[in-house]
Symmetry: C2
Amino acid sequence: MVWEKELNERKRTILKSIIDDYIKYAQPVGSRTIARKLELGLGSATIRNEMADLEELGYITQPYTSAGRIPSDKGYRFYVEHLMQLHSLAYEEMEKIQAAMSEQIEEINELIKKVSIIISNITGYTSFVLSPQLKKVTIKTIRLIYVDEKMLLLVVVANGGIVKDKIVKHQSNLDEDTVHRLSNFLNKVFSGKTVVELSEQNFLDIQLNLKVPKEAVKIILEAIEDCIRKIDTIDVYLDGVTNILNFPEFSDLLKAREILELLKEEEVVINLVKNPPPGSNLDYKIGSENELNELKELSVITTVYGSDGKNLGTFGVIGPTRMAYGKVVSSIKYIREVLNKELLKILGDDSL
Amino acid sequence: MVWEKELNERKRTILKSIIDDYIKYAQPVGSRTIARKLELGLGSATIRNEMADLEELGYITQPYTSAGRIPSDKGYRFYVEHLMQLHSLAYEEMEKIQAAMSEQIEEINELIKKVSIIISNITGYTSFVLSPQLKKVTIKTIRLIYVDEKMLLLVVVANGGIVKDKIVKHQSNLDEDTVHRLSNFLNKVFSGKTVVELSEQNFLDIQLNLKVPKEAVKIILEAIEDCIRKIDTIDVYLDGVTNILNFPEFSDLLKAREILELLKEEEVVINLVKNPPPGSNLDYKIGSENELNELKELSVITTVYGSDGKNLGTFGVIGPTRMAYGKVVSSIKYIREVLNKELLKILGDDSL
DNA sequence: ATTAGCACTCATTACAGGAGAGTGCTAACA
DNA sequence: TGTTAGCACTCTCCTGTAATGAGTGCTAAT
């Protein structure tokens, strides 16, 4: 670890104390408070001098002359990188997480949804989970099911147990047998394929080999494409959005509403997570480090999940910059651990 | 229409004027305002006398001595039943509705989702749409698809183009051929059936006829049951929840948060709609008429949708009691009309 | 290097007074 | 009898002022 020359041990202790206090009470914290709390045998005046230094260095600010200090974004950054303490979760919390995630582990998206609920539950902030985006969608099975003569059901099963289906309506009066043959053919052609190439070749093959009307083939291929696109799409699960309203920094209704509106957009959430710095698997975006103006007073903590080192997706927490970083990080780490184990159970060695 | 003896024409006019004004400005309205606005050649003192009567009758109240009047829930009820004017929608609004709902009409749930968005968009309040709850689920097709020797995909297609699928994991190492036979058998047994009876008989039949291990049969039947339950479950689509934050009556953050939390619960929304009075297809729950305490300051307008008189589901609007009832009702009526037409297109004569 | 002491700053609170909106009542009027 | 002008009264809201108090920065003493 690089020793930050500009902050000696005492300044660090004081900075940590200020931030801890501010996280807890959301009130500017003054020199007396710190002096009393730290029990270093230092008077408030000394602390005041140190605080003046910390302010000059940009770690804390004063909302107005002669108020206490509040941490700046730079202060928070230093805090998460050098100062914060991780507390291990309470036994009941671990229990809760385990319990919630191990029941009914059938579908991967169910699990992910649960994760988002449990995170917001444990942390009290807003949580988000992005479903796996498969680097390469491999089709395991593709099937057409005859419903009636103008309607088919297309089912695509991809790796990772992901299933998408789609009703296909057509005008070609296909009979049950034709559909069956078509289904087998498509399955043979596409299964195991990584990137689906809807080449003219395939197109013609189908028509020639199976004597299926052009119209139907076109619609079916489009449907397949559509399903694959859906499989490839990242799903966003949010929970605890209204928790934002709990924090005094968002008592401004308009501001709060703006944020809530914004978080509804899946794109926004997906973009929150972009450009994770390499090296660490935990990413912090603190206040002004966020790109969107509306989010400059929020912090986002993100991590990646996935069994044995494979990056499947991301999840994290959104809260005020004055977030209980220590608590959140410990929770995230623990939940990630459990999630990864569960995923391994569901997916097995199914390479994604 | 029953002529309410207790309110003569003039009182009605005044009441309507008060409510219209209050809906617009959310401010207690005084006698002078009304006198000026109505242009009946009446002085404010006369209006004052009438207002005193209206207050005594319970249609309006005073927030405090010598403030203007605000409508009571009873006032609003009289308003929606006798006074409010329906304005026909602006041409652009009708365009917008048509456009939004006629593109991409493949899946019924897609359509419903769009409806909820368009309602909140047009009205500026919170909208909800409940998906059809089928009185009787008829299975059109049931199919098992072989994925690998420990995994099947169950697909159930019900009437109304509703599809549910479920990955079924088992330990019985079924081969592709067995699955295929099983699939055909199940399809024969179940398709067309209204209520699926998972009788012992069926259970034994399958085992005897197809020599499939007991374990697998049990799991598969459970999965079928599960799919049918899912088909039968009402989906709730909400949109524009944060619109609630726009109204001054919910500037109290705690109250607002409470409501937002509440609306997240699907059950709550489903219960909003219970007990629609027979006769009309438009149902109003105004303020205190709602059962839940947290919703006593909200009004809920609900209607049913469904092609040719068949009640498929409900949708509606949630807003402050001071809702623009006229505007909302006209919007709801128009949207219902369009929705019903679209549903007819999608469902055809498929009897639900 | 530390700190006690002190003057100073600024948000917050409380309080008082005035303006304004609106009422209820009464007496006069058509 | 219904309507209305006039007036006293009520209550909120706004404004200004003063007091409070938390906290600072600086200086001089330790």
